[in-house]
Symmetry: C2
Subunit: 197 residues, 2 copies
Amino acid sequence: MMTDKCSELKSFMAKQRVPLSEEDFALISAAAVYKSVRKKELLLQAGEVCRFKIFISQGFLRTFRFDGEGNEHILQFSSGQSWTTEGESYSNQSPSAYYIEALEDSELLMWTKDSFDQLLAAIPALKAFSEQLIFNNLHASRNRLYKAISASPEEKYEDFVQTYPGILQRVPLRMVASYLGVSLKTLTRIRQGQLQR
Amino acid sequence: MMTDKCSELKSFMAKQRVPLSEEDFALISAAAVYKSVRKKELLLQAGEVCRFKIFISQGFLRTFRFDGEGNEHILQFSSGQSWTTEGESYSNQSPSAYYIEALEDSELLMWTKDSFDQLLAAIPALKAFSEQLIFNNLHASRNRLYKAISASPEEKYEDFVQTYPGILQRVPLRMVASYLGVSLKTLTRIRQGQLQR
DNA sequence: CACCAAAGAGGACATTTGTCCCTGTTTTAC
DNA sequence: GTAAAACAGGGACAAATGTCCTCTTTGGTG
């Protein structure tokens, strides 16, 4: 039954104080596509259109892409109880430059843009929540950009540990390095306290 | 008269194909505060709340902040015929970490959050346009973040020149360096072709 | 007109960061 | 259970980047 697949979503929306009636929530649940994925499965490939907005009930995802030299760069980690998508591809239904991959076995709820747009039009509280999410994303993105252009690798690492305690235990260090935009070597040196300053 | 102060805004909205009626536009104009500023004037100081959303009729602004060592970092250049604000401070009406400064004599139209929110509620086309602006901002911010963590200083510079031809002629190089997150020395070396690769 | 501040190029040097190797350990796959 | 791959630390070295300094030019200001 759909309802039990949606229990994490329900508690998440409640915790976020999104005022959804039972009917609202039934609409949202009915439009959701449930998907269970194994570690290393790709939810989106570069070149594909990102058709879905995703709520992660459980698990852990990353969004990344490759540069011209074939190096991976991680733009985002997405943990359980949060929303994600590749925004540019999803908004415009245009090909994505990014991959989305499961870093752990995960359980997801997904909505196509068409169905989600209908929900937004029908449910003002969902619309308001969605706008809030966008704002939060924008502010987080700008703050991270500021760190990226202003902080030393060491400061970036400290900031990462502060901001996302727990992720360090879930992903390989090289992915943290990739997320921070430094080499694994630099990250190792920082962690070993091998910097004399 | 307000109307002529708003002519640039009118042509901008027309060019962006925002379907505003004459009445809509009259409402928007009536709520606007016109301000003319001289080069080097501050429109927002760190610690202040950003009370306004700004349309730049003419001129050029920058948004920047200081890090712990007192170094300036430029987050954004805003040229004429575009909108700007300090989003996080404006949204939450909370103290800003950023400064906004005129880099050239500029002419601005400004709306308080209260008055702009009223306009958004009253004018669906403005609301839709505003949402589009937010999306564009988010996508631009993410793309820039990707460059920041993935590209070499040289690639960042090339990208800057491609993306913002013209800015180079309007601002000191040290500000470009600050925007890119590299030292002036590095930028000079790139421009002199002093890198042997 | 004179003066001062800002801009930016260049040199010298130190530091940081990255790349390339290797090694030992842990995890994954069959 | 075993082989293979991934992970992460270490050393050696090279390259990139930053800091500090000087010098010259330019532009603004009184």
